[in-house]
């Protein structure tokens, strides 16, 4: 048996009240996450009760991270995420887990968050994320 659960994002309250309608923003939440021992990854994105995502779309993507100590100041990132992400449900006043995942390759992974503002409503997600990693037993 070889499974691992990593708290890749502790509970965190975001607020995108100053993001203009029609705009989106992407930023990195975690990088150099060691995935070298695993072939399957699932993100368990927890939407906490205080969350309010009425004003737009929120999604989290897991990319390959090609960090190199030969050039540590550069960001090496795969062009596409390992798997298609699932957007968080829109609304407020509920809790939910949104699990999704796929096969992962390479040594490191990076987690990004992309937010798109679609209306003047509140866009303040409160989330925490576990990364579930699995691999078959060694022979």
């Amino acid at each position: 048996m070889a499974g691992s659960r990593q708290r890749i994002l502790p509970i965190r309250a975001f607020s995108f009240g100053t993001l203009a309608i029609g705009n989106s923003q992407t930023f990195t939440l975690a990088e150099r996450v060691d995935i070298s021992q695993y072939i399957d990854a699932m993100l368990a994105v927890r939407v906490h009760l205080a969350s309010n995502t009425s004003g737009g779309n929120v999604q989290f993507d897991l990319y390959g991270d090609g960090f190199s100590d030969e050039d540590p100041g550069l960001v090496f990132r795969t062009a596409a995420p390992f798997f298609t992400s699932t957007a968080l449900p829109s609304g407020f006043g509920f809790s939910q887990v949104v699990p999704y995942g796929g096969t992962v390759r390479g040594r490191y992974a990076a987690l990004t968050m992309t937010v798109s503002r679609t209306s003047a409503s509140v866009l303040a997600p409160v989330v925490s994320i576990d990364l579930i990693l699995r691999t078959p037993d060694a022979l």
């Binding site: 509970i11 699932m42 368990a44 699932t86 939910q96 699990p99 995942g101 579930i132 699995r134 078959p136």
Partner: protein
């Protein structure tokens, strides 16, 4: 390669005979069932006997995606998707029902935890019960 048979429910009777027509009800069979170590899981529901042949209603056993956090321990985190066994008038008596539970994917996958509930829905008068046992056969293949 390793495997394990997880006994979720010993043989037990689900009896909803006292509920009126049109009523539905649910009960939790297992909560925060840990699945972290397994890449492949098959749920096997043994129906020892049931009374659904009369058409009184249906009984379902439903698997929900679940997560838990010590940062917010009082909040239940369930997913929007579910995998379901449905027992009705056409279910053999006895029966052995199998259901593959996806552990990886973007549409419905369980991640590392599940909650299992039993539902019933009554559509006509008559006995409404089933004697079941539920096991999960887990592999890390």
């Amino acid at each position: 390669m390793s495997n394990q048979a997880l006994v979720v429910c010993q043989k037990q009777v689900l009896d909803f005979g006292n509920f009126a027509t049109g009523v539905s009800f649910q009960t939790i069979l297992a909560d925060r069932l840990e699945l972290l170590q397994w890449r492949e899981i098959t749920a096997v529901l043994n129906v020892h006997t049931h009374s659904l042949g009369s058409g009184a209603g249906t009984i379902s056993v439903v698997f929900y995606q679940q997560s838990w956090s010590e940062e917010d321990p009082g909040t239940p985190f369930l997913g929007s998707g579910a995998q379901t066994f449905t027992l009705n008038s056409s279910t053999p008596n006895p029966a052995c029902l199998a259901l593959a539970l996806p552990m990886l994917g973007t549409t419905f996958a369980l991640a590392d935890m599940t909650q299992i509930r039993a539902f019933f829905s009554r559509s006509a008068a008559g006995p409404l019960n089933a004697t079941i046992s539920l096991r999960l056969f887990a592999k890390d293949a």
